[in-house]
Amino acid sequence: MTFIEISVYLSTIIIGLSLLLIFYRIISGPSTEDRIVGLDLLTSNAIAFIAVYSIQSGTTTFLDVGLILALIAFLGTVAFAFYLERRTRK
């Protein structure tokens, strides 16, 4: 086992563990904003996971998916926050 294989396995495990921790916050978050922050962080972690997985599987196509995911995460967060702010405006 080479060093890069060990580090890819380790980072897959660590990123998966942090995905689980973020899921706990999304489920138990007291307010809607907590859940939105959790979803934003979840998408960012998915980008990192995709980058690691592209090394593990040997295909570089997945990085395009990461680029699109970054765009969509930002759009979703801004849209959620816009409607939450408009709900409290009179």
Binding site: V8, L63, L67, A70, F74, V78, A81, T88
Partner: protein, 115 residues
């Protein structure tokens, strides 16, 4: 040699991602949680993508990774600000040890404009 460098970057980045996940669990209120997630996760993803571009080494991958990093660096503060603003108007409770709320009374409650 390049593979060792790439592996070190990958593990460092995933460590920072784990730190941001612990931060979103352990921090006491929404605003401190946002400070943990925005900074640590941007740094972690940047390091993981730098490690990926070291591993592949071709121009296309490096440009794609740099595009993702620059886009995250541009959008993470904007998204955090806009969620924080919505949460402040939505009366999300502050931590009970927060002493100073400098925005208190400076916003118009109905139109959400600065006085």
């Amino acid at each position: 040699m390049i593979e060792i460098l790439s592996g070190v970057f990958l593990m460092l980045g995933s460590f920072f991602i784990l730190l941001s996940a612990i931060g979103i669990i352990k921090m006491p209120d929404l605003f401190t949680r946002m400070s943990a997630t925005t900074k640590a996760s941007t740094l972690g993803i940047g390091l993981v993508l730098i490690g990926t571009s070291f591993f592949w080494g071709s121009v296309g991958i490096v440009v794609r990774s740099l595009a993702i990093i620059v886009f995250l660096l541009l959008t993470a503060p904007v998204a955090a600000h806009i969620i924080g603003r919505a949460a402040y108007f939505d009366k999300v409770p502050l931590w009970n040890k927060t002493h100073i709320d400098e925005l208190k009374g400076k916003y118009d409650e109905d139109s959400h404009e600065l006085k």
